[in-house]
Amino acid sequence: MPNATYIALIPLLPLAGFLMLGIFGRKYFKNTSGVIGAALLLISTVLALYTAYGYFFEYGKVDGVYQKLVPLKYTWLQFSENVSIDMGIIIDPVSVMMLVVVTFVSLMVHIYSLGYMKGDERFPTYYAFLGLFTFSMLGLVVSSNIFQIYIFWELVGVSSFLLIGYYYDKPSAVAACKKAFIVTRFADVGFLIGILILAFHSGTLDFNTLITTLTSPETEGYKSAAAASFMGVSALTWGLALVFVGGAGKSAMFPLHIWLPDAMEGPTPVSALIHAATMVVAGVFLVARLFPVFAISSPNALTMVGYVGAISALIAAIIACTQTDIKRVLAYSTMSQIGYMMFALGVSKYGGEEGLGYTASMFHLFTHAMFKALLFLGAGAVIHYIHSNEMKDMGGLRKYLPVTHITFLIACLAIAGVPPFAGFFSKEEILLAAYEHNTAIYWIALITSGLTAFYMFRLYFNIFWNAPSPLERAGGEVHGEHHGEGGFVMMMPLVLLAVGAAGAGFIPFGHFISSDGKQLNTEFHLQFSIAPVALGLAGIFIAMWMYKKQNNRPDKIAASLSSLYKAAYHKFYIDEIYTFITQKIIFNLIGRPAAWFDKNVVDGMINATGNGTKDISESIKGLQSGKVQSYAIYFLAGVIGLALLFIYWWT
């Protein structure tokens, strides 16, 4: 068994960093906070690597199957005898892999930010938030309880909110952070209700027990979940679908993706960490965590996952081709790649060779973290140099940013699926899994992979080739000389990630991660990979033809595809639809009437009671005239009345 203490330290060290820098940073660690944060994370990374080594090569495997170990579990909130929220650590192949990815990318971002955020006024706060995020994300991946994952799920959401809104005096950043929080929050309601359904039927919140209960048809929980139905769909499918809604929100799946492009308002290293490599894959991770239940008990929900993933992948790829803000292009590309991971899970089955999609998805998650973080950090270096996000301000930068140029190129080749870079291997596995199980998704994926190559190289050529930007012609060189590429701290992460992006594909992933924990041998089919690679290369060449030198071909093509181009440029008007729903329907048709109703009807009722009392007293106050003689008359009349009463009616 692993030692729980040092595994617990992996998330707790960043938390300590958050508390220390958050409370005292402003006063005592004005300049050293970055180094402190990075040092703490370095320890975490080493511990994570050590854990991974121990798990995969020493104690994790029993009889050829990787075990799910729970070295630490602590009851946090007891609801009833069996139902409780526990804070625990689960160690299985996926969580160990995620530990490594999160700590590694986070460490790279911590180091990179030393240069990128240098001189920022709120430097300690920035590192505090990074620490909070890293803690939450690590807590999320090791969660042993479905409610624990929800807790950390919300915490990563709020760290993302805080970091997107880091430049809080920029109105666009404020709007973006609000949007990100609310959209994911909306999805989280689905997640919450899904948890309630699953917990009710399985009678537990613990992952291991829950999965066991809901995958064995003889248990009471499974029977009740399968029997109970609502609108013709079983409770189990409802529960899983709703949990997936939560995952889709966090992972920016269509139609809940609208927050991700806007989230690029945050500092670029943050985008690399949160909105590319780690937090946005939480949805994939969640589905992977519950994969046995999806695959064994509710194939319908899994099919839905597949289609949502495929549609997201395609739509995002199309939109990415038209965007001009380089971070937005990368954001859509992220969404598209996460779509890949999702549908890879969607087409997978549980156990053995059939579980190829699962392995492929996790593989792609791993490689994607490397090359996408690299792309973002590279874009960060470009933005740092040129102080703009717009493609039209860039061009010809390969001379000034040589390291960035090479590493960016590696990342682009990796994402385009060119052998022998990392993306090639993971993507081939995904395509193979799709080919074997669902032809429709396979074709969508194939088209998307061509588009991916095209838009990535459109980005690459626009930044590093093409014509020199207007900015540069106006004396950018002088500006560049004393600015440089950002020094060692910014270049080192790029190089390390580039090594990962180039070499990660050679890891025999199936040996470590598979749907049932057994070893999965993936074969390499040469004839199968001809089509995707050819498409990828075609995409690259088209991009080169259009964007390497300045010319008017892009405009011509855009004009010839005018309506499609316009729709894609406007992101298929999904944002507008949301604005319409929220502003027009929710605000005007629910919020305003509610406020009006309260002010006029409910409050009016109370005021009417008050005024009614007043009116009645107004109308009878004349009796209190102050005239002694009228009082005497009332008195006499009363006496006579009483006398009559006594004389005639009483007896």
Binding site: V83, I182, I606
Partner: protein
């Protein structure tokens, strides 16, 4: 421990306040008294847990009983269970914070503090009474000072608000009184004693009449739809400490009364009326949330959100499961701390900017990092961020509510769940507009919180985080109390 101390200490403090010569003395004496209350509350918690750990399973601990009005069977009967201890802790936290944020009150300082302390005495007395008559007595003590606090030290439409609040709460009290008398005369042996009545099993037809009376009466205090309209006006016109006490303590009197008196004594009535309670509380939750979305004044925002949040208290009670009731009490504690903190922050902002309109503020984080950060913490607590108290309470209510397999309660729970999105919308709108964005003109010279404000905020934040990070202690405190009520509910007639 003698529970009368909880009444005596505020009483002595109030008397001492009246004897002081100047404002400074008044403040320090009040602070001393409030600190003594806090210490006492912690001692109570400690002794209570010690007794429970030692295996004392009596429903009420530290019972004391004095003759009060023997011919009517009224006795001064005190005692606490876990629910009361939780509420007493909450009161102590809010009182000390309220005393601290009122440091700058210059108008009739002595009377102001006197009323605050008196109010706290009413609240303590209410939470520890085991005799319905003195329970009612303390309820009234907790109402009257509010009228004066709003009427004298308030702002805006203060006369209107004070009248409305006092009349509506008095109306609620009247319903409560009628209900109490109904219970009193129900048995052969007339009694106001809670424990005796609980053992007696009140006849069904009496329950059917008295339960709605008592529930609606206490419901007025805890913003039961549609009797909630005193909440927005009352809170927004009250002085800062007044709003804190109102939302942090007074609204909890109602929730506690609904649970301890109405539901505990009349379980059959509770079962009969459960559906109505659920419908009304879901309306309050959603409708309060949507109404909040449209508010422009920070105090109104928090007041309407209180309506929404207190809906969870009533929902938890209406769902009649152990978990949901535990959640209801947790929500009372959590909401009390959180909303007191929220009002405190709004007060701090108002003192500096002289406005409460969201649209007139912006970028406050830049000039007031402490206040801005507190605003973020309290906002995030309100929208249910894990690690802060609101999340724990709401999730417990949801978990408890979902235990019923019928569609009606399922739908009610789902609707209640949806409110967390709406809450996120209005809270984020409020805090991003005030704290973030470019700094508004004219705000360049604002100063950050002073020591007393910082201390008040930190005390409340400590409470919020203590529940948010480690909810088990609160759960262990409350759940046995809810369990007793559940046992009573399960008794078949």
């Amino acid at each position: 421990m003698n529970l009368s101390l909880l009444i005596l200490i505020p009483l002595l403090t109030a008397a001492a306040v009246l004897l002081m010569r100047n404002a400074a003395q008044v403040r320090w004496v009040s602070l001393l008294g409030a600190s003594a209350q806090l210490v006492l509350a912690f001692v109570l918690l400690f002794l209570f847990n010690q007794q429970r750990a030692a295996g004392n399973t009596a429903q009420m601990l530290f019972e004391t009983q004095y003759n009060w009005f023997p011919s009517w069977n009224i006795s001064f009967h005190l005692g606490v269970d876990g629910i009361s201890v939780a509420m007493i802790l909450l009161t102590a936290f809010v009182v000390i914070a309220g005393v601290l944020v009122s440091w700058n009150v210059t108008k009739m300082t002595k009377e102001f503090y006197f009323l605050l302390i008196l109010l706290s005495m009413g609240a303590y007395g209410f939470f520890i009474s085991l005799d319905l008559f003195i329970l009612f007595f303390f309820l009234e003590i907790a109402v009257i000072p509010k009228y004066l606090l709003i009427g004298i030290w308030g702002s805006g439409k203060k006369e209107y608000a004070a009248n409305k609040l006092a009349l509506m709460l008095m109306g609620g009290s009247a319903l409560v009184l009628v209900g109490l008398l109904g219970i009193y005369f129900s048995g052969k042996e007339h009694s106001f004693d809670l424990m005796k009545l609980a053992a007696l099993n009140i006849p069904l037809q009496i329950q059917m009449i008295c339960f709605p009376l008592l529930f609606a009466g206490f419901g007025v205090f805890t913003a039961l739809f549609p009797l909630h309209t005193w909440v927005p006006d009352g809170h927004s016109s009250a002085p800062t400490a007044g709003s804190m006490f109102l939302a942090g303590i007074s609204m909890k009197l109602g929730g506690y009364g609904c649970l301890r008196v109405a539901t505990f004594l009349m379980p059959e009535g509770a079962k009969e009326y459960a559906n109505i309670i659920i419908i009304l509380s879901v309306i309050a939750i959603l409708y309060g949330a949507f109404a909040t979305m449209m508010q422009k004044d920070l105090k109104y925002i928090n007041a309407y959100s209180s309506v929404s949040h207190c809906g969870f208290v009533l929902l938890g009670i209406g769902m009649l499961t152990k978990t949901s009731m535990t959640g209801a009490v947790m929500q009372m504690v959590s909401h009390g701390l959180m909303t007191a903190l929220f009002f405190a922050v709004i007060g701090m902002i108002y003192e500096r900017t002289h406005t409460r309109q969201v649209s007139e503020m912006g970028g406050l984080l830049k000039r007031m990092p402490f206040i801005g950060t507190v605003l973020f913490i309290v906002g995030l607590c309100s929208l249910g961020l894990p690690g802060l108290s609101g999340f724990v309470a709401e999730m417990t209510v949801f978990m408890g509510s979902w235990q019923h397999p019928d569609t009606f309660r399922r739908i009610a729970t789902i609707l209640a769940c949806l409110s967390i999105v709406v809450t996120a919308v209005y809270i984020l709108r409020a805090i991003t507009k005030t704290a973030m964005g470019p700094l508004k003109e004219g705000f360049e010279l604002l100063t950050d919180a002073t020591w007393n404000e910082k201390l008040a905020a930190l005390i409340l934040i400590a409470g919020i985080i203590a529940i948010g990070i480690a909810p088990f202690w609160l759960n262990d405190l409350i759940a046995p109390g809810a369990e007793v009520i559940m046992q009573k509910l399960a008794i078949p007639k």
